[in-house]
Symmetry: C2
Protein backbone atom coordinates (compact mmCIF):
# COMPACT_ATOMS: atom_id res chain seq x y z
CA UNK A 1 0.00 0.00 0.00
CA UNK A 2 1.21 3.45 -0.91
CA UNK A 3 0.87 6.30 1.61
CA UNK A 4 0.96 9.81 0.18
CA UNK A 5 1.35 12.75 2.54
CA UNK A 6 0.15 16.18 1.40
CA UNK A 7 3.07 18.58 0.99
CA UNK A 8 1.75 21.27 3.33
CA UNK A 9 0.03 19.00 5.85
CA UNK A 10 0.11 20.28 9.41
CA UNK A 11 1.38 23.38 11.17
CA UNK A 12 0.91 26.73 9.50
CA UNK A 13 3.29 29.60 10.19
CA UNK A 14 1.29 31.08 13.08
CA UNK A 15 0.69 27.76 14.84
CA UNK A 16 4.33 26.71 14.51
CA UNK A 17 5.42 30.05 15.95
CA UNK A 18 2.90 29.90 18.82
CA UNK A 19 3.90 26.35 19.72
CA UNK A 20 7.60 27.25 19.75
CA UNK A 21 6.92 30.28 21.93
CA UNK A 22 4.87 28.16 24.35
CA UNK A 23 7.48 25.40 24.69
CA UNK A 24 10.20 28.03 25.19
CA UNK A 25 8.14 29.71 27.91
CA UNK A 26 7.51 26.29 29.50
CA UNK A 27 11.25 25.54 29.52
CA UNK A 28 11.91 28.68 31.54
CA UNK A 29 9.94 27.08 34.42
CA UNK A 30 8.64 30.28 36.00
CA UNK A 31 8.36 29.88 39.77
CA UNK A 32 5.11 31.84 39.73
CA UNK A 33 3.48 29.53 37.17
CA UNK A 34 3.05 29.45 33.39
CA UNK A 35 -0.37 29.56 31.80
CA UNK A 36 -2.09 29.85 28.44
CA UNK A 37 -5.29 31.83 28.13
CA UNK A 38 -7.41 29.24 26.35
CA UNK A 39 -5.70 26.36 24.51
CA UNK A 40 -2.53 27.61 22.79
CA UNK A 41 -3.65 25.94 19.53
CA UNK A 42 -6.55 23.66 18.64
CA UNK A 43 -4.59 20.45 19.25
CA UNK A 44 -5.47 18.56 22.46
CA UNK A 45 -2.21 16.57 22.09
CA UNK A 46 -0.02 19.69 22.04
CA UNK A 47 -1.99 21.13 24.95
CA UNK A 48 -1.44 17.87 26.90
CA UNK A 49 2.31 17.95 26.26
CA UNK A 50 2.47 21.51 27.54
CA UNK A 51 0.44 20.52 30.60
CA UNK A 52 2.96 17.76 31.27
CA UNK A 53 5.59 20.53 31.31
CA UNK A 54 3.51 22.44 33.85
CA UNK A 55 1.69 24.86 31.55
CA UNK A 56 -1.90 25.19 32.70
CA UNK A 57 -4.79 26.24 30.49
CA UNK A 58 -6.92 29.02 31.99
CA UNK A 59 -10.43 29.98 30.90
CA UNK A 60 -9.85 33.49 32.22
CA UNK A 61 -7.43 35.38 34.45
CA UNK A 62 -9.61 35.54 37.58
CA UNK A 63 -7.74 32.72 39.33
CA UNK A 64 -4.19 34.11 39.02
CA UNK A 65 -2.37 37.21 40.28
CA UNK A 66 1.15 36.41 39.13
CA UNK A 67 3.02 34.28 36.63
CA UNK A 68 3.59 34.03 32.92
CA UNK A 69 0.55 34.07 30.67
CA UNK A 70 0.97 32.98 27.05
CA UNK A 71 -1.51 34.48 24.59
CA UNK A 72 -2.88 31.76 22.31
CA UNK A 73 -2.33 31.72 18.53
CA UNK A 74 -5.94 32.81 17.88
CA UNK A 75 -5.45 35.86 20.09
CA UNK A 76 -7.59 37.04 22.98
CA UNK A 77 -9.72 40.10 23.63
CA UNK A 78 -8.28 43.56 24.22
CA UNK A 79 -9.86 43.51 27.70
CA UNK A 80 -8.03 40.28 28.59
CA UNK A 81 -4.68 41.78 27.54
CA UNK A 82 -5.49 44.87 29.61
CA UNK A 83 -6.40 42.69 32.62
CA UNK A 84 -3.11 40.77 32.29
CA UNK A 85 -1.15 44.02 32.18
CA UNK A 86 -3.07 45.46 35.10
CA UNK A 87 -2.20 42.37 37.13
CA UNK A 88 1.41 42.87 36.01
CA UNK A 89 1.59 39.34 34.67
CA UNK A 90 4.47 38.42 32.39
CA UNK A 91 2.63 38.43 29.05
CA UNK A 92 4.12 36.28 26.25
CA UNK A 93 2.22 37.06 23.07
CA UNK A 94 1.95 34.06 20.74
CA UNK A 95 -0.90 35.57 18.72
CA UNK A 96 -0.50 34.68 15.05
CA UNK A 97 0.92 37.80 13.33
CA UNK A 98 -1.82 37.58 10.69
CA UNK A 99 -4.53 37.55 13.37
CA UNK A 100 -2.76 40.45 15.07
CA UNK A 101 -2.96 42.41 11.81
CA UNK A 102 -6.71 41.85 11.67
CA UNK A 103 -7.02 43.09 15.27
CA UNK A 104 -4.99 46.19 14.42
CA UNK A 105 -7.02 46.95 11.29
CA UNK A 106 -10.26 46.72 13.26
CA UNK A 107 -8.89 49.11 15.87
CA UNK A 108 -7.72 51.54 13.16
CA UNK A 109 -10.96 51.38 11.16
CA UNK A 110 -13.04 51.81 14.29
CA UNK A 111 -11.01 54.79 15.49
CA UNK A 112 -11.51 56.41 12.09
CA UNK A 113 -15.28 56.13 12.41
CA UNK A 114 -15.96 53.14 10.18
CA UNK A 115 -18.71 50.68 10.91
CA UNK A 116 -16.70 47.47 11.08
CA UNK A 117 -17.79 44.17 9.53
CA UNK A 118 -15.90 41.01 10.50
CA UNK A 119 -16.49 38.00 8.26
CA UNK A 120 -16.16 34.89 10.39
CA UNK A 121 -17.65 32.48 12.89
CA UNK A 122 -19.10 34.46 15.78
CA UNK A 123 -18.20 31.77 18.31
CA UNK A 124 -14.60 31.30 17.23
CA UNK A 125 -12.02 32.71 19.68
CA UNK A 126 -10.12 34.39 16.84
CA UNK A 127 -13.24 36.35 15.88
CA UNK A 128 -14.06 37.21 19.48
CA UNK A 129 -10.55 38.58 19.85
CA UNK A 130 -10.67 40.58 16.61
CA UNK A 131 -14.10 42.02 17.38
CA UNK A 132 -12.96 43.23 20.79
CA UNK A 133 -10.62 45.74 19.16
CA UNK A 134 -13.52 47.76 17.71
CA UNK A 135 -14.22 50.87 19.73
CA UNK A 136 -17.47 51.54 17.88
CA UNK A 137 -20.08 49.63 15.94
CA UNK A 138 -19.00 46.16 14.80
CA UNK A 139 -20.94 43.41 13.08
CA UNK A 140 -19.89 39.77 12.73
CA UNK A 141 -21.29 38.25 9.55
CA UNK A 142 -21.15 34.71 8.20
CA UNK A 143 -22.47 35.51 4.73
CA UNK A 144 -23.57 38.16 2.26
CA UNK A 145 -27.15 37.70 3.47
CA UNK A 146 -26.07 38.79 6.95
CA UNK A 147 -24.67 41.98 5.40
CA UNK A 148 -27.88 42.63 3.47
CA UNK A 149 -29.79 42.43 6.75
CA UNK A 150 -27.70 45.27 8.26
CA UNK A 151 -28.92 48.87 8.20
CA UNK A 152 -27.41 51.39 5.78
CA UNK A 153 -24.05 52.74 6.90
CA UNK A 154 -21.81 55.58 5.74
CA UNK A 155 -18.31 54.17 5.88
CA UNK A 156 -17.80 50.43 6.13
CA UNK A 157 -14.53 48.74 7.09
CA UNK A 158 -14.21 45.00 6.48
CA UNK A 159 -11.79 42.35 7.72
CA UNK A 160 -12.04 38.55 7.71
CA UNK A 161 -11.17 35.73 10.04
CA UNK A 162 -7.83 34.52 8.64
CA UNK A 163 -9.21 31.08 7.71
CA UNK A 164 -12.12 32.33 5.57
CA UNK A 165 -12.42 31.61 1.85
CA UNK A 166 -11.71 34.51 -0.50
CA UNK A 167 -15.01 33.90 -2.33
CA UNK A 168 -16.91 34.52 0.92
CA UNK A 169 -15.09 37.80 1.43
CA UNK A 170 -15.84 38.80 -2.16
CA UNK A 171 -19.56 38.07 -1.63
CA UNK A 172 -19.61 40.04 1.60
CA UNK A 173 -17.89 43.03 -0.01
CA UNK A 174 -20.30 42.89 -2.95
CA UNK A 175 -23.20 43.06 -0.49
CA UNK A 176 -21.54 45.84 1.53
CA UNK A 177 -21.38 48.01 -1.60
CA UNK A 178 -25.18 48.25 -1.41
CA UNK A 179 -24.98 49.43 2.20
CA UNK A 180 -22.45 52.26 2.29
CA UNK A 181 -20.78 54.84 0.04
CA UNK A 182 -17.30 53.90 1.20
CA UNK A 183 -16.18 50.31 1.66
CA UNK A 184 -12.63 49.72 2.85
CA UNK A 185 -11.50 46.12 2.88
CA UNK A 186 -8.41 44.66 4.49
CA UNK A 187 -8.03 41.17 3.10
CA UNK A 188 -6.76 39.45 6.23
CA UNK A 189 -7.24 35.94 4.86
CA UNK A 190 -4.13 33.78 5.19
CA UNK A 191 -3.56 31.41 2.30
CA UNK A 192 -2.50 28.55 4.62
CA UNK A 193 -6.12 27.39 4.66
CA UNK A 194 -6.69 27.49 0.89
CA UNK A 195 -3.28 25.89 0.21
CA UNK A 196 -4.17 22.94 2.49
CA UNK A 197 -7.68 22.68 1.03
CA UNK A 198 -6.47 22.78 -2.60
CA UNK A 199 -3.85 20.12 -1.88
CA UNK A 200 -6.40 17.95 -0.07
CA UNK A 201 -8.82 18.23 -3.00
CA UNK A 202 -6.11 17.23 -5.48
CA UNK A 203 -4.89 14.35 -3.32
CA UNK A 204 -8.38 12.99 -2.55
CA UNK A 205 -9.08 12.47 -6.24
CA UNK A 206 -6.05 10.17 -6.66
CA UNK A 207 -6.44 7.83 -3.65
CA UNK A 208 -8.79 5.11 -2.39
CA UNK A 209 -8.87 6.42 1.17
CA UNK A 210 -8.10 9.74 2.92
CA UNK A 211 -6.98 10.23 6.51
CA UNK A 212 -7.25 13.77 7.88
CA UNK A 213 -5.40 14.41 11.13
CA UNK A 214 -6.22 17.17 13.60
CA UNK A 215 -8.07 18.19 16.74
CA UNK A 216 -11.77 17.41 16.77
CA UNK A 217 -12.11 21.03 17.99
CA UNK A 218 -10.14 22.37 15.02
CA UNK A 219 -12.45 24.13 12.54
CA UNK A 220 -9.91 24.02 9.71
CA UNK A 221 -9.31 20.26 10.18
CA UNK A 222 -13.05 19.55 10.19
CA UNK A 223 -13.39 21.56 6.98
CA UNK A 224 -10.49 19.62 5.39
CA UNK A 225 -12.24 16.36 6.23
CA UNK A 226 -15.53 17.63 4.76
CA UNK A 227 -13.81 18.65 1.53
CA UNK A 228 -12.09 15.26 1.20
CA UNK A 229 -15.29 13.35 2.00
CA UNK A 230 -17.13 15.06 -0.85
CA UNK A 231 -14.52 13.67 -3.25
CA UNK A 232 -13.53 10.42 -1.51
CA UNK A 233 -16.26 8.88 0.73
CA UNK A 234 -13.57 6.77 2.47
CA UNK A 235 -12.33 9.77 4.45
CA UNK A 236 -11.55 9.52 8.17
CA UNK A 237 -10.85 12.36 10.62
CA UNK A 238 -8.49 11.25 13.43
CA UNK A 239 -6.67 13.08 16.19
CA UNK A 240 -3.81 10.58 16.44
CA UNK A 241 -2.63 7.08 15.50
CA UNK A 242 -4.77 5.60 18.28
CA UNK A 243 -7.92 6.52 16.39
CA UNK A 244 -6.94 4.49 13.31
CA UNK A 245 -8.88 1.31 12.50
CA UNK A 246 -7.16 -1.43 10.48
CA UNK A 247 -10.38 -2.31 8.68
CA UNK A 248 -10.32 1.04 6.87
CA UNK A 249 -7.37 -0.11 4.79
CA UNK A 250 -8.60 -3.51 3.57
CA UNK A 251 -8.27 -3.69 -0.19
CA UNK A 252 -6.89 -0.14 -0.33
CA UNK A 253 -3.93 0.54 -2.64
CA UNK A 254 -3.31 4.26 -2.08
CA UNK A 255 -3.95 6.22 1.12
CA UNK A 256 -3.78 10.01 1.17
CA UNK A 257 -2.88 11.76 4.42
CA UNK A 258 -3.27 15.40 5.30
CA UNK A 259 -3.51 17.38 8.51
CA UNK A 260 -4.99 20.62 9.78
CA UNK A 261 -2.92 23.71 10.47
CA UNK A 262 -2.80 22.92 14.20
CA UNK A 263 -1.55 19.35 13.86
CA UNK A 264 2.08 18.78 14.99
CA UNK A 265 4.56 16.83 12.90
CA UNK A 266 4.98 14.07 15.50
CA UNK A 267 1.28 13.27 15.36
CA UNK A 268 1.39 13.13 11.56
CA UNK A 269 4.49 10.90 11.65
CA UNK A 270 2.78 8.63 14.17
CA UNK A 271 -0.29 8.26 11.98
CA UNK A 272 1.74 7.54 8.83
CA UNK A 273 3.82 4.92 10.66
CA UNK A 274 0.74 3.26 12.11
CA UNK A 275 -0.99 3.12 8.71
CA UNK A 276 2.14 1.42 7.32
CA UNK A 277 2.06 -1.10 10.19
CA UNK A 278 -1.64 -1.82 9.72
CA UNK A 279 -1.04 -2.41 6.04
CA UNK A 280 1.84 -4.78 6.91
CA UNK A 281 -0.31 -6.64 9.48
CA UNK A 282 -2.80 -7.24 6.73
CA UNK A 283 -0.20 -8.78 4.45
CA UNK A 284 1.24 -11.05 7.18
CA UNK B 1 -53.22 57.36 -28.73
CA UNK B 2 -51.91 57.59 -25.20
CA UNK B 3 -48.52 59.20 -24.53
CA UNK B 4 -46.84 58.24 -21.26
CA UNK B 5 -43.85 60.24 -20.10
CA UNK B 6 -41.41 58.60 -17.66
CA UNK B 7 -41.46 60.34 -14.29
CA UNK B 8 -37.74 61.14 -14.15
CA UNK B 9 -37.20 61.76 -17.86
CA UNK B 10 -34.57 64.38 -18.61
CA UNK B 11 -32.19 66.54 -16.59
CA UNK B 12 -30.46 65.04 -13.60
CA UNK B 13 -29.36 67.20 -10.69
CA UNK B 14 -25.85 67.90 -12.03
CA UNK B 15 -26.97 68.72 -15.56
CA UNK B 16 -29.75 71.01 -14.36
CA UNK B 17 -27.31 72.82 -12.11
CA UNK B 18 -24.66 73.15 -14.85
CA UNK B 19 -27.21 74.47 -17.34
CA UNK B 20 -28.51 77.06 -14.87
CA UNK B 21 -24.95 78.16 -14.09
CA UNK B 22 -24.16 78.48 -17.80
CA UNK B 23 -27.26 80.51 -18.65
CA UNK B 24 -26.62 82.78 -15.66
CA UNK B 25 -23.04 83.32 -16.79
CA UNK B 26 -24.27 83.99 -20.33
CA UNK B 27 -26.74 86.60 -19.04
CA UNK B 28 -23.88 88.55 -17.42
CA UNK B 29 -22.56 89.27 -20.94
CA UNK B 30 -18.87 89.51 -20.06
CA UNK B 31 -17.13 92.04 -22.32
CA UNK B 32 -14.08 89.76 -22.48
CA UNK B 33 -16.10 86.76 -23.72
CA UNK B 34 -17.82 83.75 -22.16
CA UNK B 35 -16.74 80.22 -23.00
CA UNK B 36 -17.32 76.63 -22.02
CA UNK B 37 -14.44 74.20 -22.02
CA UNK B 38 -16.01 71.42 -24.10
CA UNK B 39 -19.81 71.27 -24.43
CA UNK B 40 -21.44 72.23 -21.11
CA UNK B 41 -23.63 69.09 -21.28
CA UNK B 42 -24.14 66.42 -23.96
CA UNK B 43 -27.10 68.20 -25.56
CA UNK B 44 -26.35 69.90 -28.91
CA UNK B 45 -29.61 71.89 -28.57
CA UNK B 46 -28.62 73.38 -25.20
CA UNK B 47 -25.13 74.12 -26.54
CA UNK B 48 -26.72 75.88 -29.57
CA UNK B 49 -28.96 78.03 -27.35
CA UNK B 50 -25.94 79.08 -25.33
CA UNK B 51 -24.04 79.86 -28.52
CA UNK B 52 -26.94 82.11 -29.58
CA UNK B 53 -26.37 83.97 -26.30
CA UNK B 54 -22.69 84.38 -27.17
CA UNK B 55 -21.20 81.46 -25.23
CA UNK B 56 -18.53 79.81 -27.36
CA UNK B 57 -17.39 76.20 -26.96
CA UNK B 58 -13.61 75.81 -26.72
CA UNK B 59 -11.66 72.60 -27.24
CA UNK B 60 -8.88 73.97 -25.08
CA UNK B 61 -7.73 77.27 -23.59
CA UNK B 62 -4.93 77.99 -26.08
CA UNK B 63 -6.97 80.53 -28.03
CA UNK B 64 -8.00 82.80 -25.12
CA UNK B 65 -6.18 84.98 -22.59
CA UNK B 66 -9.14 86.58 -20.86
CA UNK B 67 -12.86 86.11 -20.29
CA UNK B 68 -15.17 83.81 -18.36
CA UNK B 69 -14.68 80.08 -18.74
CA UNK B 70 -17.43 77.75 -17.57
CA UNK B 71 -16.32 74.27 -16.54
CA UNK B 72 -18.62 71.67 -18.07
CA UNK B 73 -20.82 69.32 -15.99
CA UNK B 74 -18.49 66.35 -16.70
CA UNK B 75 -15.53 68.31 -15.34
CA UNK B 76 -12.17 68.92 -16.94
CA UNK B 77 -8.61 67.90 -16.10
CA UNK B 78 -6.69 69.35 -13.19
CA UNK B 79 -4.17 70.74 -15.68
CA UNK B 80 -6.91 72.64 -17.53
CA UNK B 81 -8.14 74.23 -14.29
CA UNK B 82 -4.54 75.17 -13.47
CA UNK B 83 -4.09 76.70 -16.93
CA UNK B 84 -7.29 78.74 -16.55
CA UNK B 85 -6.13 80.03 -13.16
CA UNK B 86 -2.68 80.82 -14.50
CA UNK B 87 -4.25 82.87 -17.27
CA UNK B 88 -6.36 84.58 -14.58
CA UNK B 89 -9.55 83.71 -16.38
CA UNK B 90 -12.85 84.08 -14.52
CA UNK B 91 -13.54 80.38 -13.80
CA UNK B 92 -17.18 79.38 -13.25
CA UNK B 93 -17.24 75.77 -12.09
CA UNK B 94 -20.33 73.89 -13.26
CA UNK B 95 -18.80 70.46 -12.61
CA UNK B 96 -21.45 68.09 -11.26
CA UNK B 97 -20.87 67.85 -7.49
CA UNK B 98 -20.92 64.05 -7.74
CA UNK B 99 -18.18 64.11 -10.40
CA UNK B 100 -16.27 66.57 -8.25
CA UNK B 101 -16.42 64.08 -5.37
CA UNK B 102 -14.92 61.37 -7.58
CA UNK B 103 -12.10 63.75 -8.56
CA UNK B 104 -11.45 64.56 -4.90
CA UNK B 105 -11.42 60.89 -3.85
CA UNK B 106 -8.89 60.07 -6.58
CA UNK B 107 -6.67 62.92 -5.44
CA UNK B 108 -6.95 61.78 -1.81
CA UNK B 109 -6.34 58.08 -2.56
CA UNK B 110 -3.41 58.89 -4.79
CA UNK B 111 -1.81 61.20 -2.22
CA UNK B 112 -2.13 58.40 0.34
CA UNK B 113 -0.19 56.02 -1.90
CA UNK B 114 -3.02 53.92 -3.30
CA UNK B 115 -2.92 52.52 -6.81
CA UNK B 116 -6.11 54.02 -8.20
CA UNK B 117 -8.61 52.14 -10.36
CA UNK B 118 -11.30 54.14 -12.16
CA UNK B 119 -14.19 52.12 -13.54
CA UNK B 120 -15.46 53.88 -16.65
CA UNK B 121 -15.11 54.64 -20.35
CA UNK B 122 -11.55 55.72 -21.02
CA UNK B 123 -12.60 58.16 -23.75
CA UNK B 124 -15.35 59.87 -21.76
CA UNK B 125 -14.50 63.43 -20.66
CA UNK B 126 -15.74 62.70 -17.13
CA UNK B 127 -13.24 59.86 -16.80
CA UNK B 128 -10.41 61.88 -18.33
CA UNK B 129 -11.10 64.60 -15.78
CA UNK B 130 -11.27 62.18 -12.83
CA UNK B 131 -8.10 60.36 -13.87
CA UNK B 132 -6.16 63.61 -14.09
CA UNK B 133 -6.46 64.07 -10.32
CA UNK B 134 -4.26 61.03 -9.62
CA UNK B 135 -0.74 62.01 -8.70
CA UNK B 136 0.48 58.43 -8.93
CA UNK B 137 -0.45 55.19 -10.66
CA UNK B 138 -3.98 55.12 -12.07
CA UNK B 139 -5.73 52.51 -14.19
CA UNK B 140 -8.97 52.99 -16.13
CA UNK B 141 -10.88 49.71 -16.39
CA UNK B 142 -14.08 48.84 -18.21
CA UNK B 143 -14.57 45.43 -16.62
CA UNK B 144 -13.38 42.88 -14.07
CA UNK B 145 -11.23 41.28 -16.79
CA UNK B 146 -9.31 44.53 -17.13
CA UNK B 147 -8.59 44.38 -13.39
CA UNK B 148 -7.43 40.76 -13.57
CA UNK B 149 -4.93 41.82 -16.26
CA UNK B 150 -3.32 44.36 -13.89
CA UNK B 151 -0.21 43.48 -11.88
CA UNK B 152 -0.46 42.78 -8.15
CA UNK B 153 -0.72 45.92 -6.03
CA UNK B 154 -0.50 46.66 -2.32
CA UNK B 155 -3.23 49.18 -1.67
CA UNK B 156 -5.96 49.71 -4.23
CA UNK B 157 -8.36 52.66 -4.29
CA UNK B 158 -11.42 52.43 -6.52
CA UNK B 159 -13.90 54.99 -7.81
CA UNK B 160 -16.41 54.80 -10.67
CA UNK B 161 -17.65 57.08 -13.40
CA UNK B 162 -20.93 58.39 -11.94
CA UNK B 163 -23.06 56.75 -14.64
CA UNK B 164 -21.74 53.19 -14.16
CA UNK B 165 -23.94 50.30 -13.03
CA UNK B 166 -23.46 49.10 -9.47
CA UNK B 167 -23.08 45.50 -10.68
CA UNK B 168 -20.05 46.52 -12.74
CA UNK B 169 -18.48 48.16 -9.71
CA UNK B 170 -19.17 45.05 -7.65
CA UNK B 171 -17.49 42.85 -10.28
CA UNK B 172 -14.47 45.16 -10.43
CA UNK B 173 -14.11 45.18 -6.64
CA UNK B 174 -14.40 41.38 -6.53
CA UNK B 175 -11.55 41.16 -9.03
CA UNK B 176 -9.48 43.77 -7.18
CA UNK B 177 -9.63 41.63 -4.03
CA UNK B 178 -7.39 39.14 -5.85
CA UNK B 179 -4.87 41.90 -6.63
CA UNK B 180 -4.19 43.71 -3.38
CA UNK B 181 -4.39 43.25 0.38
CA UNK B 182 -6.28 46.51 0.89
CA UNK B 183 -9.11 47.60 -1.34
CA UNK B 184 -10.79 50.92 -0.60
CA UNK B 185 -13.85 51.72 -2.63
CA UNK B 186 -15.67 55.01 -2.93
CA UNK B 187 -18.98 54.25 -4.58
CA UNK B 188 -19.26 57.40 -6.69
CA UNK B 189 -22.12 56.06 -8.78
CA UNK B 190 -25.07 58.46 -8.96
CA UNK B 191 -28.48 56.77 -8.98
CA UNK B 192 -29.84 59.17 -11.64
CA UNK B 193 -28.74 56.68 -14.28
CA UNK B 194 -30.24 53.57 -12.67
CA UNK B 195 -33.47 55.42 -11.80
CA UNK B 196 -33.93 56.43 -15.46
CA UNK B 197 -33.01 52.95 -16.69
CA UNK B 198 -35.36 51.17 -14.25
CA UNK B 199 -38.23 53.48 -15.22
CA UNK B 200 -37.49 53.00 -18.92
CA UNK B 201 -37.49 49.23 -18.50
CA UNK B 202 -40.83 49.30 -16.67
CA UNK B 203 -42.39 51.70 -19.18
CA UNK B 204 -41.12 49.81 -22.27
CA UNK B 205 -42.98 46.66 -21.21
CA UNK B 206 -46.35 48.46 -21.16
CA UNK B 207 -46.28 50.34 -24.49
CA UNK B 208 -46.29 49.59 -28.25
CA UNK B 209 -43.58 52.11 -29.05
CA UNK B 210 -40.82 53.95 -27.13
CA UNK B 211 -39.28 57.31 -27.96
CA UNK B 212 -36.02 58.12 -26.22
CA UNK B 213 -34.90 61.75 -26.41
CA UNK B 214 -31.34 63.00 -26.03
CA UNK B 215 -28.11 63.97 -27.74
CA UNK B 216 -26.70 61.41 -30.15
CA UNK B 217 -23.42 62.07 -28.29
CA UNK B 218 -25.00 61.31 -24.91
CA UNK B 219 -23.80 57.93 -23.60
CA UNK B 220 -26.60 57.64 -21.05
CA UNK B 221 -29.28 58.38 -23.67
CA UNK B 222 -27.82 55.80 -26.05
CA UNK B 223 -27.85 53.26 -23.21
CA UNK B 224 -31.49 54.11 -22.38
CA UNK B 225 -32.43 53.49 -26.03
CA UNK B 226 -30.57 50.15 -26.03
CA UNK B 227 -32.36 49.02 -22.88
CA UNK B 228 -35.77 49.96 -24.28
CA UNK B 229 -35.04 48.31 -27.65
CA UNK B 230 -34.30 44.98 -25.95
CA UNK B 231 -37.81 45.04 -24.49
CA UNK B 232 -39.70 46.97 -27.18
CA UNK B 233 -38.24 46.69 -30.72
CA UNK B 234 -40.25 49.80 -31.75
CA UNK B 235 -37.83 52.10 -29.94
CA UNK B 236 -36.56 55.32 -31.52
CA UNK B 237 -33.75 57.59 -30.34
CA UNK B 238 -34.35 61.22 -31.32
CA UNK B 239 -32.65 64.48 -30.43
CA UNK B 240 -35.74 66.64 -30.96
CA UNK B 241 -39.26 66.77 -32.43
CA UNK B 242 -37.77 67.27 -35.90
CA UNK B 243 -36.45 63.72 -35.90
CA UNK B 244 -39.88 62.15 -35.38
CA UNK B 245 -41.49 60.21 -38.24
CA UNK B 246 -45.26 59.94 -38.37
CA UNK B 247 -45.11 56.39 -39.74
CA UNK B 248 -43.71 55.16 -36.41
CA UNK B 249 -47.09 55.70 -34.75
CA UNK B 250 -49.43 53.94 -37.23
CA UNK B 251 -51.58 51.45 -35.37
CA UNK B 252 -49.91 52.35 -32.08
CA UNK B 253 -52.11 52.77 -28.99
CA UNK B 254 -49.60 53.63 -26.28
CA UNK B 255 -46.31 55.51 -26.74
CA UNK B 256 -43.76 55.68 -23.95
CA UNK B 257 -41.41 58.66 -23.82
CA UNK B 258 -38.24 59.03 -21.81
CA UNK B 259 -35.14 61.19 -22.06
CA UNK B 260 -31.48 61.10 -21.07
CA UNK B 261 -30.06 63.05 -18.16
CA UNK B 262 -28.83 65.82 -20.48
CA UNK B 263 -32.14 66.43 -22.27
CA UNK B 264 -33.86 69.73 -21.40
CA UNK B 265 -37.54 69.95 -20.58
CA UNK B 266 -38.38 72.11 -23.60
CA UNK B 267 -37.07 69.42 -25.96
CA UNK B 268 -39.13 66.75 -24.16
CA UNK B 269 -42.25 68.96 -24.27
CA UNK B 270 -41.67 69.57 -27.98
CA UNK B 271 -41.41 65.86 -28.71
CA UNK B 272 -44.52 64.98 -26.67
CA UNK B 273 -46.52 67.74 -28.44
CA UNK B 274 -45.35 66.63 -31.86
CA UNK B 275 -46.23 62.98 -31.17
CA UNK B 276 -49.72 64.13 -30.15
CA UNK B 277 -50.01 66.13 -33.41
CA UNK B 278 -48.80 63.21 -35.55
CA UNK B 279 -51.37 60.96 -33.88
CA UNK B 280 -54.08 63.58 -34.58
CA UNK B 281 -53.00 63.93 -38.26
CA UNK B 282 -53.45 60.21 -38.61
CA UNK B 283 -57.03 60.37 -37.32
CA UNK B 284 -57.99 63.31 -39.62
Amino acid sequence: MEIILARNAGFCFGVKRATQIAFEAASRQSTTGTYTLGPIIHSPQVVNRLEELGVKVLKDLSSIDSGTVIIRSHGVTEAEIAEAEEKQLDVVDATCPFVKKAQEYVKELSSQGYDVIVLGDYDHPEVQGIVSYAGGRVHVVASADDVLALPAMKRIGIVAQTTQALEHLQEVVTAALTKGAEVRVYNTICDATSVRQDEARALATTVDCMVVIGGYNSANTKRLAEICKEIQPHTYHVESAENLDGSWFHGIERVGVTAGASTPKWLIDGVVERIAELSKDKKD
